[in-house]
Symmetry: C2
Amino acid sequence: MNEADFIARLRTLPLHPGARGLVDDVAVLGGLVVTSDTLVEGVHFLPGDPAADVAWKLVATNLSDLAAKGAAVEGVMLNYPLRDADWDAAFLDGLATVLRAYDVALIGGDTVSLPAGAPRVLTVTAFGRDAAAPARSGARAGDGLWVTGTIGGAGAGLAIACAGAGDAALLARYRRPVPRLAEGRALAPLVHAMMDVSDGLLIDAARMAAASGVAVAIALDALPLPAGVADALAATTAGDDYELLFAAPPGFVPPVPATRVGGFAAGAGLTLTRDGAAVALPAQLGFQHGLR
Amino acid sequence: MNEADFIARLRTLPLHPGARGLVDDVAVLGGLVVTSDTLVEGVHFLPGDPAADVAWKLVATNLSDLAAKGAAVEGVMLNYPLRDADWDAAFLDGLATVLRAYDVALIGGDTVSLPAGAPRVLTVTAFGRDAAAPARSGARAGDGLWVTGTIGGAGAGLAIACAGAGDAALLARYRRPVPRLAEGRALAPLVHAMMDVSDGLLIDAARMAAASGVAVAIALDALPLPAGVADALAATTAGDDYELLFAAPPGFVPPVPATRVGGFAAGAGLTLTRDGAAVALPAQLGFQHGLR
């Protein structure tokens, strides 16, 4: 069963009104927004990635979901699997670093042991408040599609981590993503829809369009690429950038640095252009669990 | 690093005021109580346990933490690792069963994939409201130590699951624990301290006493044992019963079925008696992660 099938079956269960039909990255409970992300060793991070970087990424990916809702961070819970003392100690150092970097408090969690040699599976649940909480389903025909920062850096960083050598800035994009908390706070009250780019620009833009009941077109030539990344098409299917992707009305002037990379129209589906000419979609639009 | 060492280091990080110093099973956030439990295949459940039972246990153990705070259930989040379609489908059936049994709504979560052959690691985070939320640290010298239901049934059920045959009622105690939600609602406003028995009566009572700054004594002859369980000492160190353990003042008359199994006194530590005579403590008081 792949992720989409599993989630489709979850939707047949009794859902909380704050679950937003399981189509959003956060739930809304009273005055809080809540999100939970799990990272799996060998899937979301490499067994050789430094433990401190894994701690950073685990917290940062959750904060990124709060950023996409314009939330102020209330705190995080940690579910941690003990396996080896040196790694655990390095993880705790990294956890202290990322919590202090974003002024985040620890709320609680659970500690478990793992069978010898089992891949680590780590979960953080993050809580935010005062969120404008734009859904991913609010894009309208005529809206522009925008993204903060640059796209493709984390994908290039993953290749560098696998190769063992390369540009340090790109490697950091993969290992220490920066949640766009301030940008999210500024954008959330102004935009029609927002989410973070975690699985790839194409698949995440397609998800926003599908949830909103509109079509989306992306211009490869408009894509903001980081230094050292030249292949725009590869950048659109690489995940882990954790930039904010949002839909905003025509004429929108973003209050933070952002790039218009496409737009929404009546209809359905995703189209890709380069210099105005159609480009064939790649076979896989991004990362999907259970499809590898 | 064992669980206690890890948690001691977590306590040096910035803690949320609702974290209760990481000594309780729940956090308090606004009007909500929040708890999160992770189950690991090969640690908390057997690889051969039916998937529907694992779903039940995963939700029930979290609801048990809400029960210990006297909370009404608001809903649960699920972090699920996809690995094999048949197991996933059976898990979903079990999830539907337990959610409907306790009228629980799904709030959200995350779905990930696992490397082939990796043990499953499943997390549920449960949210409750209207909780009297007695801490585990409120026991006072002179209080009685009480427990709902019976103790040792789940431990006997685990032995049956390993052996492959035995009493069905005891096996169900291990595989389908019953969260004491109604009992918790009735008890929470009346008691001084409460928690659930998850790792074993002795270790959990010792934790309550330590958190409260008092000593605790347990009378083995007072222990309520289920049919088919005769060894009271073994029952006190077996985990997974998910009964409620609470401290209540002298003369307390419980509003729900419960048994007084001991009492608190000034001082520190845990003592064990049988028919008034001291009994040596077992080498291990219960289940502790990282100590196996």
